[in-house]
Symmetry: D2
Subunit: 147 residues, 4 copies
C-alpha cells in the first residue's frame, strides 16, 4: 500500500531516525521507531504501569503521542530534505481500552501535498498473542520550508 | 461560566482527585490537578525538556494528555457517584508551538447528558509572564454505569 | 471487508431503504441509495450546478450530507430492529476539490458496539471515467433504544 | 470579541457577499448571509421540510453546509483581497436535534494565520422564541494565493 509513494529525498530514513531521536518524550515513555518506508512509519511502545489512566489502560494522550508521531513521520518521509513537519490538528477515536503488553502505532499517508498532508494511524495492542485495533487517528500535517 | 452546572454528587472533588492520583502518567510527566469546579477542571504542567518533540516544544501527545484529562474530569464532576468516565474521541487543533515555562489545560463541559458529554479544553502557555493560547480540544466523553 | 459483520435484524435492507426515503434532503439534492450490505452502505449523487460553492465544486456540506448518511446507515445495518441511529459527531477531511460528474459516498463500520459505533466514509468523484478519492470522514454514531 | 481582528482588505464585506452569492447551494436550501464583521460571519436558515433527515430534524449535512461557510467566510474577512479560501477539514459535534423554526450559524476565527486559519461555529436553533445551541464546529481553513 505504501509503495505507491516515491520519496523526494533518498535519505528520508536517516532524517526520520534523527528527528525521532530528538523527540525526548519518546525516551521518557519507552517508545522506539519501527518500520520506516515511504508514506509509512510505525512506532513501538511496550506497556508500562506509569503510562496509565485510572483503569490501568494506556492513557489516550500517550496513545496520541505515538500515533501523532507515526502520522507526522509518515508524512515526513515524503517531504523534501529541507522541509520540517508540523502537526496542524488530529482526531483520535478510542475504539477499545488500550490494554495489552505491547502497542504499535501504524501511520500511513492518505494524501500527500506540497504543503498539506493527510495521514492516518492505527493503534494495535498485543495481548496474549492476539492483535487488537484499539484506536484510529486522522491528522493534518504541514510541510514548512525555510524562508 | 461553569456555575451554570449543578453537580449530582456533592463529593465530586474527592472523586476527581482520587481518580487523578490513579492516573500514573500524570506523575511521570509532572502534571498536577488545579481548579476543580462543576463542569470545569484545570491541569497544570511545568515545562520539562524530556516532554518535547524535535523542536523542543511540548509534544502534541503530552498536550493531549492533560487536555483530555481536563475534558474528562470536567465531565466527571457532573456525573453521579457511581459512574465512570470514558473518552470516546477527541480532536485537537495546534494553534501555536507549545513553547513556555508552564502550561495549563482548562477543561469545560459544553453539553452534559445522561451518557454522552461534550467538553472542550484550551491549552495556555506562560512565557515571560505572557499567557498564550496554544491549542484547543473538543472531546466526547461517556458516562459508564455499573451493570 | 464488510462481510465480517453479521446483521442482528434480517430486514436491515428494508429498514435502511425506508429511513433513507424519509430523509427528504436526499430528494432535494438528488441523492440515491446504492449498495446496502452489513456494515457497508453507499450513496450516489450526480453533479448538479445548484449544489456548489463559489468555485463550482460540490459544497463540503453536501459532501457531508451523503457521507454522514453513508456512515449512519452502515451502522444502522448492524443495529437491532428497534434501534434508531443518531450521529454524535463527525470529522471530514477534504483531500481534493469535489469536482466530477458523479459522486459516491462509501460508508463502512469500523467498530460496532451496543450503543456506540464508529464508521468511516470515503467520497469518490468520477470525472472523465477516472475515479478519485476527494474526501474522508470518520464519525461516531449512537444506537438509541426505546425506553 | 471579533473586534480584536483587523481586516487586511477594506472591501471584505463585498468580497464575502459576492462569494456567498456564488454558492448556489445556499439558494437551493434557502440560506442567507447575516452579520459580516472582521473574523465573524453569520448565516441564516429558515426551517424547511425538505432539508430533513428521517426524524424531521435538519440533516447534519445541511447544518454543516451553513456552519462550514460561516467558518470559511469568517476566515475570509481577514484575508488579503487576492486570496481564496479553502476548507481543509472540519469536525462537528451534534449536541441536540436540529429542531426549530429558524437556524443561525455563527462563525468566528479562533486563530488567524498567513495561510492556515482555525475557525469555530455554533449552530443556534430558535423554537417558540427560545434560542438553543444545537451544534458546534471547529474547522481548519487555508488561504490560497495566486501563483
Amino acid at each position: 500500500m505504501s509503495s505507491q509513494f516515491q520519496p523526494r529525498d533518498p535519505y528520508f530514513k536517516v532524517r526520520v531516525s534523527r528527528s525521532f531521536d530528538e523527540q525526548t518524550v519518546m525516551q521518557l515513555i519507552g517508545a522506539s521507531l519501527g518500520v520506516v518506508e515511504p508514506g509509512h512509519v510505525e512506532i513501538e511502545l511496550p506497556y508500562r504501569q506509569d503510562l496509565t489512566q485510572q483503569d490501568d489502560f494506556i492513557h489516550a494522550g500517550i496513545s496520541s503521542t505515538i500515533m501523532d508521531s507515526a502520522c507526522g513521520y509518515a508524512a515526513y518521509t515524503l517531504m523534501p530534505a529541507l522541509a520540517r513537519v508540523l502537526t496542524i490538528e488530529f482526531k483520535i477515536n478510542l475504539l477499545a481500552p488500550a490494554a495489552g503488553e505491547h502497542f504499535r502505532a501504524i501511520g500511513r499517508v492518505r494524501k500527500p501535498g506540497r504543503s498539506i498532508f493527510v495521514a492516518e494511524s492505527e493503534l494495535h495492542a498485543s495481548l496474549d498473542g492476539e492483535d487488537k485495533l484499539v484506536a484510529t487517528m486522522v491528522g493534518t500535517l504541514m510541510a514548512v520550508y525555510p524562508q
